[in-house]
């Protein structure tokens, strides 16, 4: 375990464990001299890459599926079936592009869902105005 890379990896895992989603009292955008390379690596980390981070034991749970969760999974698979994205693009967008706060803060399928919405806009199949209007219209059905 003497190599410099292995020492870096161990320090990295210690640092990223301290990155947590939070509703902060104030935000910070540090000056360049306040971010060394170790912290650059931590802040630009891929949020999905959690293997080996320390954590405490939890109760292992099963879970009932929400209707929207089932439908979200199916929508994502069917979008791939019809060539809108491939599974690797989906995994990148929902596990890394979302960023650490949403990654750890939202339910598992919440990330799938936001990503499915995002791909429609990013690839210009739907304008953001159309998406926004549709959300508004669906909400009104429940009023």
């Amino acid at each position: 375990m003497s190599s410099a890379t292995r020492q870096k990896v161990m320090r990295h895992l210690d640092i990223v464990k301290q990155l947590q989603p939070s509703l902060h009292v104030e935000t910070h955008a540090p000056a360049p001299d306040q971010v060394d390379n170790e912290h650059y690596r931590a802040y630009t980390r891929m949020s999905h890459d959690v293997g080996g981070e320390p954590d405490v034991p939890i109760t292992w749970e099963e879970k009932e599926e929400e209707v929207w969760e089932h439908n979200t999974f199916v929508t994502c698979e069917v979008l791939a079936w019809r060539g809108v994205w491939n599974a690797e693009e989906r995994r990148r967008r929902q596990n890394v592009d979302v960023g650490q706060t949403q990654y750890l803060g939202l339910p598992y399928y919440g990330r799938w869902l936001l990503t499915a919405a995002r791909i429609l806009v990013d690839k210009q199949y739907v304008t953001l105005t159309e998406l926004s209007d549709k959300i508004d219209e669906v909400k009104k059905r429940y009023e």
Binding site: M1, T5, H12, G83, E89, R91
Partner: protein, 122 residues
């Protein structure tokens, strides 16, 4: 306005009736490593996306199997399939990954799959 064009057909044309990763078979060229080779995982930049876990970086491993050919995740996640590479199943000793892993369980291992670009001979 100008709109991008995305080819939604290329994967379905290539993989229908064949499967993925089978549809990339024969496209990676000769494999650089063989079963039993000792390798080390490189600590390459992982800006934006990778599926090479940080915990593997810099650690020694043994090639257990040449599993398939496929574009690396870094490329395929932007739908680029131009450059399929060999994927290897590699095995780590837990003791080589975690300094605090108990000596009592020195035989314990981790296996994972990595594309050729991340491996260097040891």
């Amino acid at each position: 306005m100008s709109k991008p064009h995305f080819d939604r057909e290329h994967h379905v044309k290539k993989a229908t009736g064949i499967g993925d990763p089978q549809c990339f078979k024969g496209e990676a060229g000769p494999a650089k490593f063989k079963v039993g080779d000792k390798v080390r995982i490189k600590d390459l930049p992982d800006i934006f996306y990778s599926r090479t876990q940080v915990y593997t970086r810099g650690a020694p491993a043994t090639v257990a199997e040449l599993v398939y050919e496929s574009p690396a995740a870094e490329d395929e996640s932007w739908d680029n399939t131009d450059n399929p590479v060999w994927f290897y199943s590699v095995v780590f000793k837990q003791k080589d990954l975690w300094p605090d892993y108990p000596d009592t369980f020195a035989n314990d291992t981790v296996e994972t799959e990595l594309p050729e670009r991340w491996l260097e001979p040891l």
